[in-house]
Amino acid sequence: MNLQKPGLTLYGLFIVMAFLAAAALLLGVAVSSILVVLLIYAALAYSINFITGMMGYVDFGHVLFMAIGSYALATLVSYYGANPLLGVGAGAVLGLVFAFGIGLVILRFRGVYFAIATVVLVLAAYNIVLQLPQLGTGGEIIFNRPLQPLAPYFTIWTIVMIEIALTYYVNRSRIGFGIRAIKSEEDAASSVGVSPQRLKLIGYMLGGLFGGAAGAVYSWSTSGVTAGPAFDFTFSLLMLAMIIIGGVGSSIGPLLGAVVVYIPSYFLLTSVSQAQPLIIGLLVIIMALFLPDGVVGLLRRSNDRLRLVLE
């Protein structure tokens, strides 16, 4: 990273985002209802990037925060007739609060033990939701609202913009140096004064916050939530796949990964939807074997200028 030469990655990302905004405004509802899924994917990828990408803590349970956000919005909109935007705010705050409480405990585990703990957590939460008498069978909440696709579209667009800026900022800040040190050698980090407990909690809470917000927009755009899909393990895996394919930790990687994962899922949805996990799974294996730094790493290695510019 070159602190003296700021910005190019950020400008590039903002140009892509401006293009996505223009596409929705000019081409209308049909396009925005397709692209909203891409943006939700990107938002989820950036949110798990704070945890797995930056700190190296593999989080198989990140779908939990997505589910928390989904249920927060669905509950507020369906039972209290609230404005969905309020639901998104509630999803974000709840994601943050849950991440704080959960993080205090499970961030004491490292490596594979942390990963296992995150899986257990999702299973527990799923079964709790299924038992809640307030929800319909299968933990279902559905609301009838005239859908205006542009509203959730620009909400998730804004969330992704904030995530990009924050990722970029964190990577260059004091916190970023501490978090990278933790990712590499946690004990050595504390021996030079870094507090792993505090920094890991900050990263985990950022993940929870944005995971919750993205989950809320997801249930907004699908007008409801059901426990099965909301806690679907596949989502956690997709999120991990996105940052592995894109390039872990970087500012640009999650967006690249979201695009790569989203495109086959869109084109294959109608014809051979079963093939999607297969294709993405193969892609992840290939990346892990040959391109451990993801697409970003490949681009950096291909060109000296890109190496300096891409963050």
Binding site: M1, L3, Q4, R172, S173, R174, G176, F177, G178, R180, A181, K183, S184, E185, D187, A188, A189, S190, S191, V192, G193, V194, S195, P196
Partner: protein
């Protein structure tokens, strides 16, 4: 460990030697807050630090190097040291000034040409110097050095001993030096403490230590096996 008591005056260098398993590293870990003592206390400038975590201890001005170097291999040498500048006790919070400061520290330990080298690619000696640079960069007044001279060639050893002397003259830190390499300990320390099986068996000037009966016995075995 039993009945071990030591006092490290300002800008003094105390050598700590002893056979394998005598408790040298354990003692360093207890002082640095890596392990908690079951009994006894550790004080730094009259403040108790034995109930603090490692990273808090660093804020009080005490830093430890690792016996097996642990570089942050996802960063350059300069960035490694910058982490220590940012999180030590020097109140430098801006990454760009921390990176400048890190360059200064790296050239101080003779690694000025390796600023941009990925830390994982450094040689063993360079990794040990990086450990030292990180410890110094925290702004520590007390350094705990765990075998920074081990595993070096005679040439590298000479070089490292000279470097240490130069650093000590410039920075006036106190240091507790755990070492197997006798030549290094004896030429650096004003005082040497010898541990065996968790107990202190001798303390004195380097000259006294090499002539101490008990020390010779611990290292070389008894002269008269019958006794």
């Amino acid at each position: 460990m039993k009945d071990v008591s030591l006092d490290l005056p300002e800008s003094a260098v105390l050598g700590l030697i002893g056979p394998n398993g005598s408790g040298k590293s354990t003692l360093l870990n207890v002082i640095a807050g890596v392990d908690k003592p079951t009994s006894g206390i550790v004080k730094l400038d009259s403040k108790r630090i034995d109930n603090l975590r490692t990273n808090r201890v660093v804020r009080y001005g005490l830093a430890k190097t690792h016996q097996i170097p642990k570089p942050f291999s996802n960063m350059t040498a300069r960035e490694n040291v910058a982490v220590a500048v940012l999180y030590g006790r020097r109140n430098i919070h801006s990454p760009s000034s921390a990176l400048q400061e890190a360059e200064r520290t790296l050239s101080l330990v003779g690694m000025g040409s390796r600023n941009d080298a990925p830390a994982g690619n450094l040689t063993v000696q360079e990794k040990k110097k990086l450990e030292l640079a990180r410890a110094i960069a925290t702004g520590a007044s007390v350094l705990l050095l765990d075998e920074v001279f081990a595993g070096l060639s005679p040439e590298e050893l000479k070089d490292s001993i000279q470097l240490f002397k130069k650093l000590h003259e410039e920075l006036h830190f106190s240091a507790l030096v755990v070492e197997h390499v006798m030549r290094a300990v004896l030429s650096l320390s004003q005082k040497v403490m010898v541990l065996e099986e968790g107990r202190v068996i001798a303390t004195g000037s380097p000259d006294e230590i090499v002539h101490d009966e008990k020390v010779i016995q611990a290292y070389l075995g008894s002269k008269n096996p019958a006794t």
